[in-house]
């Protein structure tokens, strides 16, 4: 039906325009910039060069890459440990499953900035945790809880925990509870049954959750900036500083495209799940 196709084209056109003009073209401009040279006062100039990508391999920047991957991996692991029992609990709950799941998601949709700030309020030297511990005479001087890698991991785990719970729940919910009973009837303790039966069967959910958490952690900017106090530099912070204070747009563009590339490679593991979403 031709009129059918025409209506569809009209409906798609604005979205296609937005995605081209405000997503694809900006990335292509970034790509072009990444092969240019910075000017003496910022800005971008010819000649075209590969220098920005060569510079990215400097040990100074490889350390930042490694730190980003490491902190994202540690955060992902903590998310998994924290989320698995929660997802199992919700999947096994007799009622209110939707409510329990929504309660996990709710904080995620409120302000990320404010949730980070809430931890800063708790953890700083004059924050509630230190004040309380001093009041109880557990410690005599504030312990540095904020502005270190540990605080960054805490912030990332707190921020992206829901991304781990959701896919785990989706997998665990589908598992037949009889499997656990069968294992127990055959002599396994509940813990052994959990480890040998439930965990292996929920591998797809574990993989999906890990990818979903790892990706935003790797590209994190706000959490290392605020919780790390500028001392923990991750790839996102490097990109930001090149585009603002350092005024080296070509190098910032190269780093941001490398970051995007890693994200896309990691995301390929998720291709099947993405088809359900969009």
């Amino acid at each position: 039906m031709p009129s059918n196709m025409r209506l569809r084209s009209i409906f798609l056109a604005p979205a296609v325009f937005v995605m081209i003009a405000l997503f694809v073209v900006p990335l292509l401009i970034t790509l072009a910039y990444s092969f240019l040279t910075r000017g003496p006062y910022g800005g971008v100039f010819t000649p075209w060069t590969f220098e920005n990508y060569q510079r990215a391999l400097d040990p100074l920047y490889l350390v930042i890459l490694w730190r980003s991957v490491w902190l994202a991996a540690v955060s992902t692991l903590f998310c998994l440990i924290l989320a698995f029992p929660v997802a199992l609990y919700i999947a096994r709950a007799e009622r209110n499953k939707a409510l329990l799941l929504n309660l996990v998601m709710l904080p995620f949709w409120t302000s990320f900035l404010i949730r980070t700030y809430a931890w800063m309020f708790l953890l700083r030297d004059t924050g509630l945790v230190n004040v309380a511990l001093e009041g109880l005479h557990v410690i005599h001087a504030p312990i540095p809880l904020l502005f270190n890698d540990g605080a960054v991991v805490l912030g990332l785990v707190y921020g992206f925990l829901p991304f781990m719970v959701l896919p785990l729940y989706a997998t665990l919910e589908k598992l037949d509870p009889a499997l656990l009973d069968a294992a127990c009837d055959l002599g396994a303790t509940p813990w052994v049954a959990l480890w040998r039966v439930i965990v292996p069967l929920s591998k797809p959910g574990i993989a999906a959750g890990c990818v979903l958490v790892f990706i935003p952690c790797l590209g994190a900017y706000l959490t290392p900036d605020l919780m790390g106090g500028g001392k923990t530099v991750m790839l996102g912070n490097l990109v930001q500083s090149q585009f603002t204070t350092a005024r080296d747009w070509p190098f910032g563009a190269a780093i941001s495209l490398l970051l995007m590339l890693i994200v896309l490679v990691v995301a390929r593991a998720l291709e099947k799940q993405s088809e359900k979403l969009l």
Partner: protein
């Protein structure tokens, strides 16, 4: 094991909610430091008398409203079209925009705007922030609309066209009314992600378009202030209510 799971899950929910609850509680603390000195509304009063914060709020609301209206309309149409027939190209672009780290999207848009400004005497401002917000929030609308359409019975549309309605009339008088709750849910979601955004906004905002999250960030950088606690409590409750309404609408 059941008991272990309940205790563990309880602790996890505490972990999720306690920081926000404590922050909100201390927004009523009359002392500036983290020891309880008695109840007060002073910080809320001073938030409402802070001109800069009010201007930031107005900016954030203008941006969020404009971006929400545009994204919801564009995203609903696109979601409907994608439901009729897949478009791998658009789907991939939307999916990539969802995956792209905010900082990457932000600097790419900054590069775009700076490049575009060579051809006209324009500056960064509210308009650039609005365009950026449309770009990153569109995918959320499409996801919500598609999720709703997948549970949608095509027979309803077929019945309407059998009765002589053309494609547009079917869409206008059958599909839209049935989709309305999902459209509203998508709009609320869009509004919250737009109102809350800091990273992309801070890169593409001009000097005269500072938003509320940018002000909260600046204050958080400087140190804890009870006004920020009060402001945070209000925003958290406000956005929380919007999200609860949205999830209600999505399921209805």
């Amino acid at each position: 094991m059941r008991r272990f799971l309940s205790v563990y899950a309880g602790a996890a929910y505490l972990f999720l909610y306690l920081p926000l609850a404590v922050l909100s509680a201390f927004s009523f603390n009359s002392s500036k430091i983290a020891t309880w000195r008695g109840f007060t509304f002073d910080w809320y009063r001073s938030v409402f008398h802070n001109r800069a914060l009010l201007e930031g709020t107005v900016n954030s609301l203008i941006i969020a409203f404009a971006a929400t209206v545009a994204s919801t309309v564009i995203g609903t149409l696109a979601g409907y079209a994608l439901w009729k027939k897949r478009s791998p190209w658009l789907t991939n672009a939307l999916y990539m925009s969802l995956l792209a780290p905010e900082i990457v999207t932000g600097v790419a848009l900054l590069a775009l705007f700076q490049w575009a400004f060579r051809f006209g005497h324009l500056r960064l401002g509210l308009h650039t922030v609005i365009l950026a917000h449309i770009s990153f929030s569109l995918v959320y609308v499409v996801i919500v609309i598609l999720a709703r359409l997948r549970t949608f019975d095509p027979a309803l549309e077929e019945a309407a066209s059998d009765l002589g309605a053309n494609r547009w009339q079917v869409f206008r008088h059958v599909t839209i009314p049935l989709l309305l709750p999902a459209i509203l849910a998508a709009a609320l979601l869009c509004f919250t992600v737009s109102f809350d955004d800091y990273v992309i906004t801070s890169l593409v905002a001009g000097v005269d378009s500072e938003t509320l999250p940018m002000m909260i960030y600046a204050m958080a950088r400087k140190g804890v202030s009870p006004e920020v606690n009060a402001l945070s409590a209000m925003i958290t409750v406000g956005l929380g209510v919007l999200i609860l309404v949205a999830s209600r609408l999505e399921r209805s």
